[in-house]
Chain length 323, copies 2
């Protein structure tokens, strides 16, 4: 079954969520309204809402409640993208101009704050403290991940553990929590909730590692931005980390680049080539695959339902995607 | 009764809140921990927590519940200060170096995000959706206020209504909500909640107008930063607004300054002098006093209790303060 077919199965509920997202970011302020609407139109695969819906199928599925979980999760993701753009000096995301490049950093910061606030407001639908605790904890961990990324920028001495913890906080946790909360909101078994969390966590890790690989091997057309952007911004990801630990000359080249006064102006194509030659890409793919295997194992422990196949399809798509 | 004596009356509960604030911002991340702790030590009068406590005295006062309202309100206030510093290019706040000037803008943004997240996390203690709705709405309105401030920056054509709406969102609402939530968490009468909200709103308006006046008339020593900072940053506040509407030459001088390529380098002392000469200061003080009167009227509608006197004292202090 293809990914598009899975989305088709949930089309009407995804439409409800999309409408809810639109209504949610409606603001009485022109600047904000325009910024948020652009962000919404830039789209994305709405992976987190889809995971919420699929996870809820293991309990009592009711879209009227679920949308109040799916929407805040997508909003938290969107807000983090907006704040990420403030940081990353990224002028292009998904090939479209970012809020920051069109307005400015300060508007982007408050647009992100506003979207965070809307996420909190939407989730007030639920009275269970556990749901709010899980959501706010995910927000907090994402902040920690971002601050760690700043701290570790231009630091070639970091180890693999630091990298893995950072991507857990930045990416994997919100996907884990999407699966968990879908099940929790649908009153699924505790055991099911746990396994879905595990599934989401491992898919999220695989997803981010794949993302980091694509930043090395993708073309500008595929990525919507030039390759090597992470390295150029001083973000040391798994392929570079592997290369540096296995080849001293790469370590010296990267260190030299990172130590430059204008690292963003350095021609990094020799470094990209060297990282590829080091085997860092293959290594990273193998680690991504390991996480994907763990995700499949978590799925095995779930009750036998059609949705297990869907979740496996999406996981494979996310972990194996080529762009 | 002096302000210090009122604080003395609540000393043990303020200490509990202070301890809770400290515990709350404890993070496993060095950068964040240091940033948050500095922010906490920079202090402040903890006006919002004090209003929570005083308001709760009109219902069933229990510090164990109240601290979960007082702490998030103070955290939201702190987070907004951190993000405000990112915007304002303010190197000094209360005479101490801001997080931004010591670290950088990006760390400041995520520290603010983290503190917002902690505010949400702390408030999960309560199950009533109304409390969460009021809190998230206050956060959203503050974002709108900040975005409006950016939009209105260097815009000398704005009118009084735009100014008043902006300070309502930026400042008055959170103080209103502190009073309201203190009463709500203590299960006070609906009518009492409403009057306390009205009291807080009017005190907050008076507070911000006084703040804007002090930025014109205060000395660098009193303010902890040079006078005229608002104008230098393009923030048109009530005294300047009045002066521009009543004296065309001031309007031209300010417009010329705002239109300069480097408005922050312009010597604004002649403009400060002209605003003072226009009567803009006296006018602003009279508006601040009007709000203060309305705050007193709201107090009159409350049941006769000792705390009415305390609230009146604090309101007078806030609205009439000279630094």
């Amino acid at each position: 079954m293809k990914l598009a077919e899975i989305y088709m199965q949930f089309q009407s509920d995804i439409t409800i969520i999309e409408k809810e997202l639109e209504d949610t970011v409606k603001a009485r302020n022109d600047v904000l309204q325009e910024a948020a609407t652009q962000l919404l139109k830039a789209g994305g695969k709405r992976i987190r809402p889809v995971f919420v819906l699929l996870a809820a199928k293991f309990g009592h599925y009711d879209i009227n409640g679920l949308k109040h979980i799916a929407v805040p999760l997508e909003l938290i993701h969107m807000a983090s993208l907006v704040h990420d753009d403030v940081i990353d000096d990224a002028d292009l995301r998904r090939g479209k101009k970012t809020i920051k490049s069109q307005w400015d950093n300060r508007v982007a910061m408050y647009t992100g704050d506003f979207i965070f606030g809307k996420a909190v407001e939407t989730s007030t639908f639920f009275t269970e403290p556990k749901i709010h605790q899980i959501l706010s904890n995910a927000m907090l961990e994402m902040c920690l991940g971002e601050i760690e990324q700043i701290r570790d920028q231009y630091n070639w001495g970091q180890n693999f553990r630091v990298y893995l913890r950072r991507i857990k906080r930045k990416t994997a946790l919100l996907i884990a929590v999407s699966c968990e909360l879908g099940a929790l909101a649908a009153n699924a078994d505790k055991e099911v909730q746990r396994n879905l969390y595990q599934f989401g966590y491992n898919v999220g890790m695989s997803f981010q590692i794949t993302d980091d690989v694509l930043d090395f091997v993708g073309t500008e057309e595929q990525l919507g931005k030039p390759a090597g952007g992470d390295l150029r911004q001083g973000n040391v990801t798994l392929p570079a980390l592997y290369a540096m630990h296995h080849d001293e000359s790469i370590q010296m080249a990267i260190t030299k680049m990172l130590a430059s006064n204008y690292p963003e102006d350095v021609d990094i194509s020799p470094i990209l080539k060297a990282v590829k030659a080091s085997g860092g890409i293959e290594y990273s793919i193998s680690i991504s695959d390991l996480y994907l295997e763990k995700a499949y194992e978590a799925l095995e422990r779930l009750p036998d339902q059609q949705e297990k196949t869907y979740l496996r399809e999406i996981a494979a798509y996310i972990g194996k995607r080529k762009f």
